[in-house]
């Protein structure tokens, strides 16, 4: 025997169940069965009404009203559903289209930007946000801009660090985008804060780790009070934006003719979180870029006062960053342009 409260709950429950069943029914015969189940002589709602007499007299009118309402609502929904089903049947009979919403929509082709472009754009965006402007220079450079002005003396072993394609004794394919530094310094007084993206060339055997052409982003900042601490700051900010804030950086001493002190910058391995894996050769660190304070000899070459101004410079390989970011193990994939490769990338 139900009490008043339970009776009210049971009306609510019956309503929900009936509505759901009706909504899911796709045949008119099925609807008739549902009608009998709820409203027939032995139907659920009919029985509820019969039970009313067992409740205290003062509750009966309210409960009665609820039950009658339920009965009406169910009748109404049954009717609506029946009409809808009849309409669909009519449509089908007339041979009109039934909306199969699982068929694919009409679409055009979708293309994507090359992953090198995507990563390059991202790098530019990050540095643009820090106040760097973009400058560009030619791929075909002179010895002066590519080497001499950057403190690579003639007949010095430092030249062996970058295997160079020569067009003649004086003209070559740039081995880095650092020449843009000198080109900008010649035209601008400090403060200058620039990134120079672009294609570079190295006369190195082609294999999974090196290719004869690649993309680099060089960055530099010259002002009256730029310090090594600022260099660490800007590169830390870059790495965090590119790879996430839990990535650690390591600066270690190195040598580039156009910076001093010079540093190689490593990041904690993003694939194994620094625990050691095959990609980081079990060191936990990945080499990501080279950097340093601009050598006074470069300032002297362009007529900047190297006593008054200090500056930093850094350079990174775009393919290298993309390889680290996506775990790509062969640089040649970027230049093969296999669509199955190109389809995969969206920053």
């Amino acid at each position: 025997m139900l009490n008043t409260n339970e009776f009210q709950n049971s009306i609510q429950k019956t309503k929900e169940e009936a509505f759901r069943e009706i909504d899911q029914e796709n045949r008119l015969e099925g609807l008739e069965q549902i009608r009998v189940k709820y409203l027939g002589r032995k139907g659920i709602i009919t029985s509820l009404l019969k039970n009313l007499k067992d409740f205290p007299e003062e509750d009966r009118p309210a409960l009665g009203q609820l039950s009658n309402q339920l009965k009406k609502q169910v009748e109404e929904v049954l009717l609506q559903r029946a009409e809808k089903l009849k309409e669909i049947q009519l449509t089908l009979k007339k041979g009109r289209w039934f909306l199969d919403y699982t068929l694919p929509g009409r679409k055009g082709w979708v293309g994507k930007l090359h992953p090198v472009t995507q990563v390059n754009e991202r790098i530019i965006q990050i540095f643009y946000g820090m106040g760097f402007e973009v400058a560009k220079g030619p791929d075909i450079e002179t010895d002066y801009y590519n080497f001499s002005s950057l403190n690579f003396p003639q007949d010095h072993p430092a030249r062996d660090m970058q295997d160079t394609f020569y067009i003649n004794d004086d003209i070559l394919l740039r081995t880095h985008t650092s020449p843009v530094q000198v080109r900008v310094f010649e035209k601008t007084e400090p403060p200058v804060r620039i990134i120079a993206p672009g294609r570079c060339y190295r006369n190195e055997a082609i294999n999974s780790r090196s290719y004869c052409t690649f993309h680099q982003v060089e960055g530099f900042y010259v002002d009256t009070d730029v310090t090594f601490a600022d260099l660490k700051g800007v590169l830390t900010a870059f790495v965090w934006e590119m790879f996430g804030k839990d990535v650690k950086l390591r600066f270690r001493a190195s040598f580039f003719p156009f910076t001093e002190p010079s540093a190689e910058v490593d990041i904690s391995c993003i694939l194994c979180s620094g625990k050691g894996c095959s990609v980081c050769k079990h060191t936990g660190w990945l080499e990501i870029l080279g950097a340093g304070m601009i050598d006074p000899a470069v300032f002297d070459a362009v007529g900047y006062d190297s006593e008054k101004f200090t500056g930093y410079a850094f350079g990174m390989g775009v393919e290298r960053i993309a390889m680290l970011k996506y775990g790509i193990n062969d640089i040649r994939l970027f230049y093969e342009n296999d669509l199955r490769f190109l389809r995969q990338f969206q920053l």
Partner: protein, 792 residues
């Protein structure tokens, strides 16, 4: 460079594990790329002493040895010819597992029992000598495990060196760095030399013709030497550095070079025709056979060591075959010299060789380390070859190269590094690097000649930060600098193009612009490409003059991988080499289209894309920038003769469009039709008006009239449109072609074109009559000009 941990420990005291050492060195600029272990533990291999050797009764080549291992005497059968009584040898006991996989067990050799094995270096994998058993130094204690007796367990650090540090090409240089990092000191290398009475100067004179190329040349004479195999400890050191032992004389010179960084050379003195050394430049085309048995043609860049008559070595680079030390050599002339780094580099670049010696000289050896090195070597000659060292060094050093002084301001250090180091702290770091410091209005550092890389204040600042540690520098995050950050207009324009095309379903590709000259010539026979003088290979020897070759290769590559539908573009540089001027480069946009017009769909039939698909893309791309173009029929080897057009905007040629010719498709092994466009995007950018002023909206309504014409099939639609615009004067605002028909309903050779013309006046609302009159004039003009008839 390979550095043995055991060897380093002989030179400097430090208390670091090999991993800690590697990490400290790496941070300081000696990047340890790899650590390998040398000498696996030789379990159950001990030092033994052969007490008695007797012949095997049934085998001539075998001997029966009684060997003491300290604890017991063992009978061991041995097949080596160099067994002897009272020598110490390595014994593999029963149960030992040798590195090569051999398991030592009790055996029976032709009736005689053997309880172990006497081993060769090769069998223990600690050396390469396999002719006979290894003979140990008598001082080793019998019974001691061989691993500890020979100090076999070692780690080899493989260090990637930067070209600015010649001193790191020596064990002493690396040790010096470790000392500085650990606050310790390098141990002095012992040189105590017993010289004979006879002076070396009686035997040899040194003349330097080219003082700039050879500022110093020192020589010693060692007589009565006996060439033999080097002792194990020496060979071991050479192995650890990745060098092969040869004989005691050569090994000593190599050892001292590895130890002190000073290359030495030993000549057979008796092969000198005169008692003198003459250092001079080679003559142009002079010939000389080096000890690698190659006859080399020299030029004036090359320094020669001669005996006054004939050359005996290429100075600082390689010795000569004919003056080489041989097993018959009895008297050695030992050379220790300082050569100018640039001269050595030029010479070895000309000869296209690089040797251990040239590597050190071209980076810069220590002119004042010459005598120490020759003395050290002479001492080892006395000890290991039994030779007599004649008295004195014959040292020609006309003008001494002196240490320089470099000033260092502590406040400058702190300004560049953003540190707060005191003068004292800085001084202490430099002193630990063996850089003597005086206080003199700031610091004044005397730079030893073994550090040619230090010439300026900034060089010393780098030394400070290396020792202080890069990780101890602050990380400052601040903006600073200029607030004006301009967007690069070209980048922005190119970005727009790339985004438009990828939105239109084109994949961006990036290709190698080093290409095959043969293919380049076929694609673009009229333009000479920029040629690389030293290419990787012939097929990568010119810079591309058109993007078409690479994009057709990408089409072909992907078609071979069952990609039927190719929509690709590249926005990249092309390069030209106009005669008599510098190579030029510019950005171009190449677009290739092949395959279906639309992705396969259940509703529509698959239709191949054609000329109008690509033309439409270009119309949209340029139309976005309010540019419209004309096509002018043209000719090109790349495109089909009747499907090849120049694109012109405002009378400027900006590119080409068309269908790729059969011949080109064959060249790239493509079976399907490909449509191609290549545009000069730099020119397009220059034609775009970036800041357009707003045009007021029209005040009066337009009137649209349609007209359908039948004209000759060969008449171009553009001619009709131009005529409509001309006839309708200012009232024609827009002409849209909306139907083209050829077929049964028009006569052969004719086509029907239908246009919708929009008329509007800027001054008033046109009445029906006015429009009718203009429209009639237009039609009349079309009838007159083209013989067009109206189609009902």
């Amino acid at each position: 460079m390979k550095a043995s941990l055991n060897w380093l420990k002989e030179l400097v005291d430090f208390d670091l594990s090999v991993d800690e050492l590697a990490s400290r060195l790496t941070d300081a600029g000696l990047e340890v790329e790899n650590i390998t272990t040398m000498g696996k533990d030789l379990d159950k291999v001990v030092v033994g002493e052969i007490k008695k050797v007797s012949p095997h009764p049934r085998a001539d080549k075998l001997s029966i040895c009684m060997v003491s291992t300290g604890a017991e005497d063992l009978q061991i059968v041995c097949g080596a010819s160099n067994v002897a009584e009272k020598i110490k040898v390595p014994i593999a006991l029963i149960g030992a597992l040798l590195p090569g996989g051999m398991n030592i067990a009790k055996s029976n050799l032709r009736g005689v029992e053997s309880f172990g094995m006497i081993c060769s270096e090769k069998e223990l994998e600690i050396g390469e000598f396999e002719d006979g058993i290894m003979i140990l130094e008598p001082k080793l204690r019998t019974g001691e495990p061989l691993t500890s007796a020979l100090n076999l367990e070692d780690f080899i650090l493989d260090i990637a060196l930067t070209p600015n540090r010649p001193d790191w090409l020596s064990m002493i240089g690396v040790a010096r760095e470790i000392a500085a990092l650990c606050g310790s000191r390098v141990k002095n290398i012992r040189v105590d030399l017993h010289e004979a009475e006879k002076p070396a100067s009686e035997m040899i004179r040194v003349e330097i013709d080219d003082q700039a190329g050879c500022p110093r040349y020192a020589a010693r004479i060692i007589e009565d030497i006996k060439i033999s195999e080097s002792p194990f400890w020496l060979k071991r050191k050479l192995y650890s550095a990745g060098m092969r032992p040869i004989n005691n004389v050569v090994d000593i010179t190599n050892l001292v070079m590895l130890e002190l960084g000073q290359p030495l050379h030993a000549f057979d003195y008796n092969l000198f025709q005169q008692k003198k050394v003459v250092v001079r430049r080679a003559k142009d085309k002079e010939k000389f056979i080096t000890l690698d048995q190659v006859e080399r043609t020299l030029n004036e860049e090359v320094l020669l060591i001669t005996d006054g008559k004939k050359p005996v070595a290429i100075g600082g680079i390689m010795g000569g075959l004919e003056s080489e030390v041989t097993p018959r050599t009895r008297t050695v002339l030992l050379e220790s010299a300082y050569f100018d780094p640039r001269v050595i580099r030029k010479g070895r670049m000309f000869l296209d060789i690089s040797t251990e010696s040239s590597q050190r000289f071209e980076r810069g050896a220590d002119p004042n380390g010459v005598v120490k090195a020759i003395d050290r070597a002479a001492q080892l000659f006395a000890e290991l070859t039994g030779g007599e060292v004649l008295k004195g060094v014959v040292d020609n050093y006309p003008s001494a190269i002196c240490p320089i002084n470099v000033k260092l301001r502590p406040q400058r250090v702190n300004r560049v590094l953003s540190t707060d180091l005191s003068s004292e702290q800085i001084k202490s770091m430099l002193v630990h690097l063996e850089l003597p410091v005086k206080e003199n209005q700031g610091l004044e550092v005397e730079i030893p000649t073994f550090r040619p890389d230090l010439t300026r204040e900034i060089d010393l600042i780098e030394e400070v930060v290396r020792i202080y540690g890069y990780s101890n520098i602050k990380t400052t995050m601040r903006a600073g600098g200029n607030l004006v950050t301009e967007i690069n207009a070209e980048d922005e324009f190119f970005r727009g193009i790339k985004q438009f095309l990828s939105g239109k379903g084109f994949f961006e590709v990036i290709t190698n612009n080093l290409v095959d000259p043969e293919i380049q010539r076929r694609l673009n026979p009229d333009i000479s490409p920029v040629t690389i003088r030293n290419p990787l290979s012939r097929d990568l020897s010119v810079l591309s003059t058109t993007l078409s070759g690479n994009l057709l290769s990408v089409v072909s590559y992907n078609k071979n991988r069952l990609e039927k539908n190719l929509r690709i573009f590249e926005l990249g540089k092309v390069f030209m080499s106009p005669e008599g001027s510098l190579p030029q480069e510019r950005y171009q946009l190449g677009i290739a289209l092949s395959g279906a017009r639309e992705p396969r769909h259940w509703e529509a039939k698959e239709v191949d894309a054609d000329f109008y698909d690509l033309k439409g893309i270009l119309e949209e791309l340029l139309g976005y920038h309010s540019l419209s173009f004309n096509l002018v029929p043209s000719r090109s080897v790349l495109l089909e003769p009747d499907n090849c057009f120049n694109l012109r905007v405002k009378d400027e040629r900006i590119g080409m469009l068309g269908g790729v010719s059969k011949g080109m498709l064959e060249l790239f092994e493509i079976k399907n039709q490909v449509f191609w466009a290549e545009l000069n995007v730099e020119k397009i950018m220059s034609l775009v008006q970036r800041m357009r002023t707003f045009v007021p909206l029209p005040k009066f309504p337009p009137v649209d009239r349609d007209v359908a014409l039948v004209v000759d099939e060969t008449l171009l639609s553009q001619e009709i449109i131009d005529e409509i615009k001309g006839a309708g004067r200012n009232f024609v605002e827009e002409v849209v072609l909306f139907d083209v028909y050829t077929g049964k309903q028009v006569e052969p050779g004719k086509k029907s074109l239908a246009y919708s013309i929009r008329y509007r006046s800027p001054e008033k609302t046109l009445t029906d009559e006015e429009v009718e009159e203009i429209h009639r004039k237009v039609i009349l003009k079309l009838e007159q000009s083209f013989g067009a008839t109206l189609r009902k």
